[in-house]
């Protein structure tokens, strides 16, 4: 009886398509297309840096979304430690994965931008250095997840490290900024804040639209990734059921 009831449930679970997921997909695709139009056609060309400055939009959008992704990791890690529900762990894991992908984008576009505008591949500039350390921290997070053992243990350890790592980020940023400004004053006008009030309004709009589009993409990927993880978990669960039935 019990087995029968579950047999009914499987297709329902696997073939369900969340409407939120669909909406996010459409939103992200449309948003990215619009931001593309804004970046390449609509927004003006920056005077000193020229065309290359257009890297800035996706660079900053990825960086801020990555940071939000890691914040979500922190939140779900905390929730997992308190409630010990597997779904929280799945959210943290998927969010960290997307955050890591976005950080990788930041770390590749950063040097390209640096090379073109400052003629050096890497500048030990606070934001870039912090991002690099962030990348290492979340790589370490995945090393913990690749340990062998039961999921509960891995999830617990990863959650603890996800919290430690995120709390470390502001301190890392602060110390690096301090280190840089005292010994290698920043000569290059990097990042949005240094450009101060002189930003063209259209540039700001383009940046905001790009950030929003990347955020939507993040939301879609998060839901998709969580759904896939959920599928995997249910699948393993049912496999185990079948294995048991075969043994008995």
């Amino acid at each position: 009886m019990e087995a029968c009831a579950e047999k009914e449930k499987v297709p329902v679970f696997f073939e369900r398509k969340s409407s939120l997921e669909k909406a996010l997909f459409i939103g992200a695709a449309a948003g990215l297309l619009i931001s593309f139009y804004l970046i390449f056609i609509w927004s003006p060309i920056e005077k000193t840096m020229g065309l290359v400055q257009k890297i800035f939009y996706i660079h900053v959008a990825s960086a801020s979304t990555a940071f939000i992704a890691f914040f979500i990791v922190f939140v779900f890690s905390l929730l997992f430690i308190i409630k010990r529900k597997r779904i929280f762990d799945t959210y943290a894991k998927v969010s960290a994965e997307i955050g890591l992908v976005l950080t990788t984008i930041v770390l590749t576009t950063g040097p390209i931008w640096a090379k073109s505008s400052w003629n050096t591949w890497w500048a030990w500039e606070p934001r870039l250095t912090t991002t690099l350390i962030l990348w290492f921290i979340y790589m370490a997070y995945f090393m913990i997840r690749q340990m062998d053992g039961v999921w509960e243990k891995k999830a617990r350890l990863a959650a603890v490290f996800g919290m430690i790592g995120f709390i470390d980020v502001p301190i890392v940023f602060f110390s690096i900024r301090w280190w840089q400004s005292k010994f290698h004053p920043i000569v290059f006008g990097a990042g949005p804040s240094q450009q101060g009030g002189g930003v063209d309004e259209r540039m700001l709009v383009t940046l905001l639209v790009t950030i929003f589009a990347v955020l939507l993409l993040y939301g879609y990927l998060l839901l998709k990734g969580v759904a896939l993880e959920g599928m995997k978990i249910t699948l393993n669960h049912r496999k185990e059921k079948i294995r048991e039935r075969l043994i008995q």
Binding site: V150, W151, E152, N236, H237, K239, E240, K241, Q248
Partner: protein, 235 residues
């Protein structure tokens, strides 16, 4: 003394314990029997507060495990497969350390008398790493009871022991029993189980399938009953 209600333990998708209900009275000596992989050691680890159950309740001496873990830990003496001893320390140093960890007073005298009661007075100041398996097990037994536990949890204590060590262990268990200690013992050794246990429970596939008295019964009774239960297809 020990009450377990609907105890389950899940590791990934495998159920190791599937709802164990167990009640053990004060001063009883109970054997836990069952085939390999049935979940006996896991049950003992849950009772020893080493691993948390996935669901279910455990209470020891009326204390609920989740709420008063600290108090419960003081009551338990746990003897697993591994010796829990520091290799390069002497038996005395090991016992004094663990005694202090349990907040005991006059540890030194207590440790010395315990070591002589397991027959190792000659080796008081010899590092444990030079000991044979049987000697290590004797020290491990002494370690498990250094803090006068009210509940003794033993995981296959007779395995690999010579006759002398096994007798020592049995006499330790019986002395503790006289003081009112409750003993729970996972074992494969029917002879020893029949000798010192009053009751036996059988676990198979993470479920408790039998619970019967052993008083006055001999090894053969236990053996045939166990074979009937485990191999007779009851599950």
């Amino acid at each position: 003394m020990i009450v377990a209600r609907k105890l389950t333990k899940q590791a990934d998708d495998k159920f190791i314990l599937r709802g164990i209900d167990l009640e053990i009275n004060k001063g009883e000596t109970v054997a836990i029997l069952g085939p390999n992989g049935a979940g006996k050691s896991t049950l003992l680890k849950v009772l020893a507060t080493l691993i948390k159950p996935t669901s279910g309740l455990v209470s020891i001496k009326g204390l609920e495990m989740k709420k008063s873990q600290h108090e419960i830990r003081k009551l338990l003496g746990y003897l697993p497969h591994s010796s829990f001893l520091y290799d390069h320390f002497t038996p005395l140093e090991n016992l004094v350390f663990y005694g202090a960890a349990y907040g005991m007073d006059h540890i030194e005298e207590k440790a010395v008398s315990l070591i002589s009661s397991v027959g190792l007075s000659f080796f008081l100041n010899e590092p444990v790493k030079n000991f044979s398996r049987g000697m290590v097990q004797r020290v491990a037994i002494a370690r498990a009871i250094i803090h006068d536990p009210e509940v003794l949890l033993l995981d296959e204590p007779h395995t690999g022991l010579d006759q002398g060590a096994a007798d020592t262990l049995n006499s330790v268990i019986l002395t503790m029993k006289e003081k009112g200690t409750t003993t729970l013992m996972v074992t494969h050794d029917f002879k020893q189980a029949a000798e010192i246990c009053e009751r036996a429970v059988v676990i198979k596939n993470g479920k408790l399938i039998a619970n019967f008295c052993l008083n006055g019964k001999d090894v053969n009774f236990l053996h045939s009953k166990y074979t009937e239960l485990v191999e007779g297809g009851a599950s």
